[in-house]
Symmetry: C2
Subunit: 273 residues, 2 copies
C-alpha cells in the first residue's frame, strides 16, 4: 500500500484534481487514504483489536441513545465459507480471518419492553428501520476507522443482503434483527496492495444553502475520464463510471436478488409500516 | 471538555467498567472520547474545514462506488431558524454556525440515466433506499471524525425527518433525494463542556459466531444503574435507561410524526418497493 504523505498527492489520488488546500490535517489525510482491502496476510486478528474496534463503534452517536444495533464476529472458517456462498461467493470472506456482520437490532428493545409488560410497536415502522440502519452504519464506520488505525484493512460486503433469511438462520438471529452489511477484516497482504479510488468532485456532492445540480454534467464527464484512467492502470477495462453505475440501477434485475428485501424484512419481523 | 488521556479513565467513562486493556491506540481513544456538542463558541467554521470534512466523507466506502448521497451546508441564519422549527425547535441548529444535512440521493443517477436514455427503476426499491442510507451515514460519520480532529464539535439531528417534504422544499431538493440526518457543527463553547455518555457493555452488543442474548439481562441492569448515576451527575433525572428507551419505541405516537415516513418518501419520489 503506497503511503501518501503529501497533501497534493493524496488529493490528486482521491479527486484526480490538484488540491485547493496547502495542508491537510494528518487524521483527515488518513481518512482520505482509505481503500477497500480484499487481500490479507496470514496474521490473526488479536482479541485486543476487536475490543478496540467495538469500543470505537459503540462510541459513535446513536439516535436517542437507543443503540439499535449489534454485531456478530465470525472466525470459524466453515461458517465463513457458508456466509461467503450466501453473499455471492466473495472469496475475501473466506480469506479474511474475521467476518463482522453489522445488524439492525430491534430485538433487544423488544425483549426489554416485554420484561416491562410494555408494547414496542414503534419498532415496526420504517422510521425505526431507518434509525437502526443509521445507527449500525455509524458504528461500522467508526470501527473501520479504528481498524485502519490499528494497521488492518477491510472491505464492506453488501452481498450479505442477497439472502437475508438464510443469513439470519446461519447467525441465529432473533426476530427483529437484520444483517445490514458485512465487513471482512484482516492485516493487508503487502504483496497485493490496494489503490485509492477517485471520487466525484466536491462540486457534485456538496451543495451550499440549496441543492444545485448545475455543476454536475461537467463534473461527471471529468470523473468518467478519471475513472477510465484509473481502471486502465488496474487492468480493469475502460467503461466510464456513469455507464457502469447506470447498469447497476437500471431495474430490479440488477439488484442481485435484493429487489425482494421488503418481503425478507417482513419475514424477519420488521414489517416497515 | 475534559481531556481523557488514560486508558482506564476513558474506558471507565464509556463503559462504567474498568478496562480489559492496558493500552488503547491514540486514535481509538479519540473516537472513544466522542460526545455530542450542543453549545458552540462564536468562532466561524472556515471553508478549509468544510473542504476537509467533505473529503473525509467522500473517502468512506460507498456501495459499488455509486456515491448515492449528497450533503447541503446551510450557513444562512434565517434558513437555519426555519429548519430548526421543522426539526422540533432544536436551539443548537440556530446556535451552530453551520448545519449540514446529509441526503440519500438517487436523483443524480436518475439524471445521468436519463441523459443516456436508460431506465433507473432499480432506485425505486427498498434495497436502494438502504444503500443510500448506509452510504450517507458512512460519509457523515467520516466527516464527524474529521471535524472532531479539527477541533470542532457536532450533534446529529434525527428531527430532520419530522417533516421531510417541508425540509425538501426548504433545501430545493429534487425528486429522489431525502434529508436523512442533520448535523450541527461548530467550535465547542469551553464554558459548557459535554460529557462522554456510557454505553451498554460489549457483551450486549458483540456476539461471537452466533447471536447470544444470554448476557443481556444482567448487562442492562448494570447499565441502568450506570446511566442513573450519569444523569444524576448532570442534573437530568433518574429514570433508568431501559424505561426511557422503551417509552421511545412503544408505538407510532412516540415517533414525533416520523410514523408517516413511508408516505413522505413516496411523495419525495422514493416509493420503496
Amino acid at each position: 500500500m503506497t503511503k501518501l504523505t503529501h497533501t497534493q498527492d493524496i488529493w490528486q489520488a482521491r479527486y484526480a484534481q490538484s488540491s485547493p488546500l496547502s495542508q491537510i490535517d494528518p487524521l483527515v489525510a488518513r481518512l482520505m487514504g482509505h481503500r477497500s482491502v480484499r487481500a490479507y496476510s496470514d496474521r490473526a486478528v488479536e482479541d485486543d483489536v476487536l475490543l478496540q474496534a467495538i469500543a470505537a463503534a459503540q462510541s459513535a452517536s446513536t439516535s436517542s441513545n437507543l443503540q439499535a444495533w449489534s454485531v456478530v464476529a465470525v472466525r470459524d472458517p466453515a461458517k465463513r465459507a457458508r456466509l461467503s456462498a450466501l453473499c455471492g461467493n466473495q472469496r475475501h470472506i473466506n480469506d479474511a480471518p474475521v467476518f463482522l456482520i453489522w445488524l439492525v437490532d430491534w430485538s433487544r428493545l423488544r425483549r426489554i419492553a416485554a420484561t416491562q409488560d410494555q408494547p414496542s410497536d414503534g419498532t415496526d415502522y420504517l422510521e425505526s428501520y431507518t434509525v437502526g440502519v443509521v445507527d449500525a452504519a455509524l458504528a461500522a464506520q467508526n470501527a473501520a476507522v479504528a481498524l485502519e488505525a490499528l494497521g488492518l484493512g477491510l472491505v464492506y460486503i453488501g452481498g450479505i443482503r442477497n439472502h437475508p433469511e438464510d443469513v439470519a438462520a446461519e447467525l441465529g438471529l432473533p426476530s427483529g434483527t437484520f444483517a445490514l452489511v458485512g465487513m471482512s477484516i484482516g492485516y493487508p497482504d503487502p504483496a497485493r496492495p490496494a489503490d485509492i479510488k477517485p471520487r466525484l468532485s466536491q462540486a457534485t456532492i456538496l451543495h451550499n444553502e440549496t441543492y444545485d445540480s448545475a455543476p454536475e454534467q461537467a463534473a461527471v464527464a471529468a470523473y468518467d475520464a478519471a475513472m477510465v484512467d484509473f481502471q486502465r492502470a488496474q487492468g480493469r477495462g475502460d467503461l466510464p463510471w456513469s455507464a457502469t453505475a447506470v447498469q447497476r440501477v437500471k431495474g430490479p434485475g440488477s439488484l442481485s436478488g435484493r429487489e425482494r428485501l421488503r418481503d425478507a424484512l417482513q419475514n424477519l419481523g420488521l414489517p416497515l409500516i
